[in-house]
């Protein structure tokens, strides 16, 4: 494994050679200073990357306080593992990968696997009942429906669908962020889509049943 000095020297040289901008080289220098003991400068790293980290984690958790906790955990892990950053890829990619793994661990640890229709808000329930077929769902309602349906999926299935459909990453980008192979990513995406479709159909069926019951009661 390359040492920090190696990384700083080789990484900076490699990036200079590959024509990357001055900002990337400056960031390498900043990380080197932090590694050499200037810990307070890590605040600058946090300041630069916090929006990106929050953006990633917000895709997997809706509760703002939990997102903040997960973001803290991401930066803490990055701090602890800073020696392992070899400078071959941009720091932002390396940090994003940590954030993704924090998100996966969080999804795995969650216990709310049960899909309950009553967990949906009014907008989401109405859209599922298909009262106005041409109407698009409200963003928050769509998120609620997808989150609820994806409770039935594994953490990895949920991750691949979120990356493909929400973040609109290519398969190559997903491989870079997860460490999966291209085939594994494609197979996982295919199976995850099939599982999600079943879960959404079940939700839709429950919504229709509820609507019928309400009409009968009236």
């Amino acid at each position: 494994m390359a040492t920090w000095t190696d990384f700083a020297a080789q990484g900076a040289e490699a990036q200079a050679d590959s024509g990357l901008d001055a900002a990337a080289r400056e960031e390498i220098a900043l990380l080197r200073r932090i590694r050499d003991g200037s810990g307070d400068e890590f605040a600058e790293v946090i300041r630069r990357h916090k929006s990106r980290v929050f953006s990633i984690l917000s895709r997997y958790e809706r509760d703002a306080h939990l997102v903040e906790d997960l973001a803290q955990e991401t930066f803490l892990k990055a701090w602890r593992a800073l020696k392992q950053f070899d400078g071959r890829a941009p720091f932002e990619h390396w940090l994003s990968r940590i954030a993704v793994h924090v998100a996966i661990d969080h999804i795995r640890a969650r216990r709310d696997r049960e899909v309950r229709f009553s967990d949906l808000g009014e907008d989401a329930a109405e859209w599922l009942q298909n009262l106005h077929p041409t109407q698009n769902p409200q963003p928050h309602a769509a998120r609620e429906i997808l989150d609820l349906a994806m409770r039935k999926l594994s953490a990895e299935d949920r991750l691949v669908l979120t990356m493909l459909e929400i973040e609109e990453y290519s398969v190559k980008e997903i491989c870079a962020r997860t460490g999966w192979t291209s085939i594994m990513t494609r197979v996982r995406a295919f199976r995850a889509r099939a599982k999600l479709k079943v879960a959404l159909l079940e939700l839709e069926a429950t919504a229709t049943e509820n609507l019928t019951r309400q009409r009968e009661t009236k």
Binding site: L57, A71, P139, L203
Partner: protein, 99 residues
């Protein structure tokens, strides 16, 4: 659910704005990092059990050195080391009049 409705869901979900970092987020993370660093230092100093565990290999090495020295003495030195040791024990450690 039709594919078109699923697409509608994804399109809408993409428009949900991400959670914004709070103002004092940097300070909070730095505080956590400092706590983590001080916790690591405390863990390094260790509990009593950890310190004993750290000492045990040294004690074992010291015992091994004494055993090897005794064996070497027994083989190469004049006299019977075990007998001498027994005499010394009788005279100094367990004297008759002491019992």
């Amino acid at each position: 659910m039709s594919d078109e409705r699923q697409k509608q869901l994804w399109r809408a979900a993409r428009r949900v704005p991400p959670v914004q970092p709070p103002e004092d987020f940097c300070a909070d993370v730095l505080r956590v990092i400092r706590q983590d660093a001080s916790g690591t230092l405390a863990a390094r100093s260790g509990t009593l059990a950890d310190q004993i565990s750290a000492l045990l290999p040294r004690l074992a090495a010291a015992a091994l050195v004494i055993i090897v020295a005794a064996v070497v003495w027994e083989i190469f030195a004049d006299g019977d080391f075990v007998v001498q040791l027994a005499e010394a024990t009788d005279e100094w450690l367990l004297p008759v009049n002491w019992l």
